[in-house]
Symmetry: C2
Amino acid sequence: MNNKKWNANVERWGRFEIELELEGPANGNPFADIEITGAFTYRNRTVEADGFYDGNGKYRIRFMPDTLGEWKFTTISNHSSLNDISGSFTCTTPKENNHGPVQVTEQTHFQYADGKPFYPFGTTAYAWNHQGEKLEKQTLESLKNAPFNKIRMCVFPKHYDYNLHEPVDFAYVGSKEEGFDFTTFNPNFFNRLEKQIDDLNELGIEVDLIIFHPYDRWGFSNMGEEADDRYLSYLVARLASFRNVWWSFANEFDLIKSKNMHDWDRFFKIVQEKDPSQHLRSIHNWQNPTIHYRSNNHWYDHNKPWVTHASIQHHDMYFIKEWREGYRKPIINDECRYEGNINHGWGNITAEKMVELFWEGVCRGGYVTHGETYMHPEGVIWWSHGGELHGESPKRIAFLRRILEEGPAKRLNPIDFSWDVAAGAIGDEYMLVYFGQSRPSFKILPLPKGNRYKIELIDTWDMTITPLDGSYTDTSKIELPGKPYMGLRITKK
Amino acid sequence: MNNKKWNANVERWGRFEIELELEGPANGNPFADIEITGAFTYRNRTVEADGFYDGNGKYRIRFMPDTLGEWKFTTISNHSSLNDISGSFTCTTPKENNHGPVQVTEQTHFQYADGKPFYPFGTTAYAWNHQGEKLEKQTLESLKNAPFNKIRMCVFPKHYDYNLHEPVDFAYVGSKEEGFDFTTFNPNFFNRLEKQIDDLNELGIEVDLIIFHPYDRWGFSNMGEEADDRYLSYLVARLASFRNVWWSFANEFDLIKSKNMHDWDRFFKIVQEKDPSQHLRSIHNWQNPTIHYRSNNHWYDHNKPWVTHASIQHHDMYFIKEWREGYRKPIINDECRYEGNINHGWGNITAEKMVELFWEGVCRGGYVTHGETYMHPEGVIWWSHGGELHGESPKRIAFLRRILEEGPAKRLNPIDFSWDVAAGAIGDEYMLVYFGQSRPSFKILPLPKGNRYKIELIDTWDMTITPLDGSYTDTSKIELPGKPYMGLRITKK
């Protein structure tokens, strides 16, 4: 043993790390051969966290403590020099902007571990982390000024239209030409990924980390069972201590022909067993669920107990209520098409439509993820590469997010005001109503009896909020401007 | 027998009528008691057409001859004075604007009996015929200048929001207060209806005549089996000789709680048996078919042999291809929501959306029906009362109709260019492509190999057609303006 170190203090939901260095050159492949686990104990409670080999003779065990006070640990390893090393640290009060990892609450919603509500307003930049320093810096700068608090991004690089460059580096040692060694990880790649995840954490952004995806020319979508499982274990060991990580097992799992439903189930179970912090877990479909989801095995059954929320691809928010009732879990529509003007139909909706999808999704009790696909002279398209945002939807998404966060600190549940209105409520106290492309000149709404309500007209496109005169009670006729994209905020007086 | 008369000549697909008058007051109820049928013979072919009592001692038998030349007839009646009256007439060449009744052709399309293509561009004015002379005249005047060649209208008056006035008169003797006598028809009512149908015929408009509907405060939706069947027979006897009549058994049949599927089947069969001219027959649903149509008994099975075409209510044209394949019949989306600004969600879509639905429906190989629901100071709303058209969609619908009628005189069948494009084709000769709200800045289309094509860019909203430079062959990249509501007309050179 050359060296061992750890911090004396770590904030709650921060990252505690033990670094152990072995002397001299390693025999064999330490990634495959050496097992190391930390057993972390607070009073009578013990949590195990696997460690990992980080190259250059260094082994690390990371752990995210969730309880204030004194923690002890001991290592367990099949290598005698790494075994039975003990120590302790103090878990301290978290800094102001650290609210802990996001969890499910009230069956269909989210909160941080400290109880602060989390309303997902995600965006998509699948391969921003594979683009090199200059562009990655610009992406982070863009995110700093954007309304998004979650990002969908892939561990592996992306091969697809507009995505034909090679990435900066790879998760494994090797090359496309000579092949990759799926037993030997590339620690530099993971150090970069970790820095990216931390940078996002600084911006208050959750990372919906896509573990597998089909857009592949390197072989990462088809590594075989053993390599897949090793990869999952390594990911969990490295990243489970990052509080802003969510596990997204796939983007468009049903396009990955090499894996079947049993594989996806197994992946969920591996991560559920190994992750000491039980981060959120989901899987994302490709097939259009109006055609398939009730009967077809292209649709993953989000009722399975290891799925924490349904991560859905669909263009119609109407079904959110049905999914909420069917899965009794939060619903995030993680791809509902993107604002832009590329050739593909999923990437050329108007900003108006993007904003409409957000409002409708939120009012129906779900959450929605943004993406942007404008043609660009250098081929830098936000949805994959990051870079700059050019669209008209983000500022309107910010407006919606503000409205939601200003509301009572509970979450909207869909109500049946009328089939043609998307409406969410918090009991009889607060209602958010949205008319979308419909443009009624008035509407008769059955407000709860016995209360008096203040109503504000929201122009979701012009981003104005105009109080309506008077107060409303029981079934009320509400005059409206007969324009698309109007909403109402209805608040109990 | 006081009087008997008929014409010596009638044009092909015109209306031949025998009038027979009985002397003195009638005993009993001639509507119920007296049966009369005409047997019409051309060479060896005999067709039977039932006659009907028209009040004031007058009985009529009507018949629409479909073959040029000499026809003979004999009457058959349970009343001796009406029995065994014979005569003949000559069926002459039709006038220029008489193309005969509309029939199904090429499995999923329509043509007039003389072979001229008929592309349905319908509108909806459910109760225009119940509004009195002044408004009815205005409606006909509006239709004269509108692009519509089919209208959905009800025999019975309508009770619903914005429809609370009493109609001019009723199909039966009686009143709402004292009840109606469902054995005694009101000939004045039917004479008015017939004049209205003839006026529409003069304008080249087919009448999609709605026989039953649920919006009723008078009892016509719940008359009982016997009265229902008598009503159907009477309708057929009076109207089967009007070449522009289509039988629509119901608007929103699944809202009529007094009738079940067996009733609807029986109605179809009665009319199929009695109608000598075999006019088009359909039935129209209420329930949203994305939810129900595959499994639910709220959805009528349009595969039944007596259904000539599917008359569907649905907001999404995407399913037309599936319905075409499932029913192998023409698909008319007879209600896809209406341009307007009333409170109801089905009646406040934008003109842009109405036009989009027409283009998408037509390019997917179906047909679409218009409606308009703008608030009006006197409550005159086109969708029900007729009156004036105020919307922005009719002139764009006219533009689409012109494009269709200018095309090769065959009908569009949907093609799988790409999931995100609505496209219909005539073999490899002609393609009409529509992008809807999508706004690609370019599109790669797999044009048939070995041909050269001319492409025109159609701005379906601004109503312009701009030829693109050059000619196109095989898989072609087509530059587009990145705006919504664009289409392409692709013609083989």
